[in-house]
Amino acid sequence: MEKIRSSKIKKEKFQRLVGAAFSLFPLFLAANIFFILLLKAFPLLTFKSLPSLIFSSAWQPVKGQFGLWPFILGTFWVTITAFALAVPVSILTSIYIAEYAPDQLKKILVPVIDLLAGLPSVIYGMWGVLLIVPLVGKYLAPLFDTYSSGYSILAAGIVLAVMILPTIINVSVEVLNSVPMALKEAALSLGATRFEVVRYVVLKKALPGIVAACVLGLSRAFGETIAVLMVVGNVPEIPRSLFSPAYPLPALLANNYGEMMSIPGYESALNLAAFLLLLIVLSFNLLARWYLTKLNRRTG
């Protein structure tokens, strides 16, 4: 009996140790990604200052000029366009799903959003090439009296907007559903219309969570690669309008990362680009998640 118990305890100890090792892996991995990219970006920083790399717009790797500003601006513009398009649509849709939609309609809308979330980015990119690029080039650009090949910030923004819809909608619906029924009933009993309930009660309670949901969508948009790469044109210049092409950071990485060995400093520059991208995405992402957890703790 004693022997059995001691072997059981030993086994338990062993399992505990193995589990601990595995569960520390995410911490180890996150730290590793961060430091390895920084380390690999470092050689360039020893002979060029960080501001001169970030704010210079001269990108000529062969001449040793690695100005990342066009790429940073490109990332910024594409993401902001997508964000501006996606936010109103997704907030309205999530309010509809959470507060208005009859059950039958919900049964259609929820799977639709799940499917949108599951589609691979290369499919979105192909859709962009097939429909959105011609739409922008042939119909939207002439409307504003400009010429555009269609491969533009606007096209990338539209495609990206559809891609981040599910993220924002899913989180927003969850937040909206957590608003207590009693609050809504109280407002209704005072004679408020349903819109007034949404406007003065539900949104008041849920707005911080919805903002966090949007920021989460934003952080996804920053890092999206293949779909954007396929429709954005990839010209390393400072973009002038929504109809001009751009070259976001992820596209820069995707196009050049594999074959960067021969030119001195190139490897470092690309790793710096990856590190900057990581930094931008993570700061938005963590801000949103931290805020959502805080909200969760207060309500539940």
Binding site: F25, S90, L92, L109, V122, F195, A254, N271
Partner: protein, 295 residues
């Protein structure tokens, strides 16, 4: 008083009703836009793929002159994608399962370590897959590997790991404390409680998590771009490069030949079909398996 309510329910009721109507119309339009985008995506891909959708597409590897529009199919990419994703999901599961069990068995949910691990997983989830691709490439060089099935599998496993762990973690956390306490009271230790009671209870959730990760891995192109390589042949060893569907689509679409572009559409249809299949299985499975849940 009563009279007043029925005849004059309040100031500006007409206006308030109009606002309600406009708001409702806006919401319906938005929902319609969302649904229409999905329909447009699916219809345009199916429509475009129809001319190239032949059986040889999915039963043959690219022949000579395939990229000039001659005979062949994308069997290499289909098989390659399945090999890569299944392998990657297996690796991710082998890391995630012990980690999640440990997290929920031995650590208190508010302890510093548990919070730190969950935070790290959130961080990892937020990292874009292109950064994983870059990281995977650096690791690959460090170990003197070339672009291969193994390197691709490891990179995709890293992409899937946070998704898998967090979804499983959330399911396991929902198990009621009474269930665990019952097991403890019968003399089971923590390990037994977790593996024989808790995991059995949340099994449908775990399967769902695996399928979600699988779908994500199958469609991810950015992480395999530098790590998995590409080949026209079937991959038979871990150290050979491997073709994947997303990259097959990407490369064929960039071709100047219309026949090859059409095949890109057909490949996209195949990939979409696979993804739809996985999500359908997920849905029906989680419904079927949760029938025997206790609570």
């Amino acid at each position: 008083m009563k009279d007043k309510i029925t005849s004059n329910p309040g100031p500006g009721l007409q206006r308030r009703k109009r606002v309600e109507f406009v708001f409702r119309a806006l919401m319906l339009t938005s929902s319609l836009v969302v649904s229409l985008s999905l329909i447009l995506i699916l219809v345009s891909i199916i429509w475009k793929s129809l001319p190239a959708l032949k059986l040889s597409m999915i039963t043959r590897t690219p022949g000579s002159g395939y990229y000039l529009g001659k005979e062949g199919g994308i069997l290499n990419a289909i098989i390659g994608s399945l090999q890569l994703t299944l392998g990657a999901t297996l690796i991710a599961l082998l890391i995630a399962l012990p980690a999640v069990i440990y997290l929920n068995t031995y650590l208190r949910s508010k302890s510093f370590l548990a919070e730190a691990i969950r935070f790290a997983l959130d961080v990892l989830w937020g990292i874009p897959s292109i950064v994983y691709g870059a990281f995977g490439f650096l690791v690959m060089l460090f170990f003197h590997l070339r672009a291969s099935l193994l390197a691709g599998m490891i990179t995709v496993a890293l992409v899937e790991l946070p998704i898998l762990s967090r979804v499983m973690d959330e399911t396991i956390r929902l198990v009621p404390a009474e269930l665990k306490e019952t097991a403890f009271s019968l003399g089971a230790n923590r390990w037994q409680t977790t593996t024989r009671v808790v995991l059995r209870q949340v099994f449908p959730g775990l399967v769902t998590a695996v399928l979600i990760a699988l779908g994500r891995g199958l469609g991810d192109a950015a992480s395999v771009l530098f790590t998995a390589g590409y080949t026209d042949r079937l991959t038979t060893s871990l150290l050979q490069p491997v073709a994947t569907l997303p990259l097959a689509i990407f490369f064929q679409l960039n071709s100047p030949f219309p026949e090859v572009q059409q095949r890109a559409y057909a490949s996209a249809a195949v990939l979409t079909l696979l993804i739809l299949l996985i999500s359908l299985i997920t849905r029906s499975l989680s419904r079927k398996l949760s029938r025997h849940k206790i609570y």
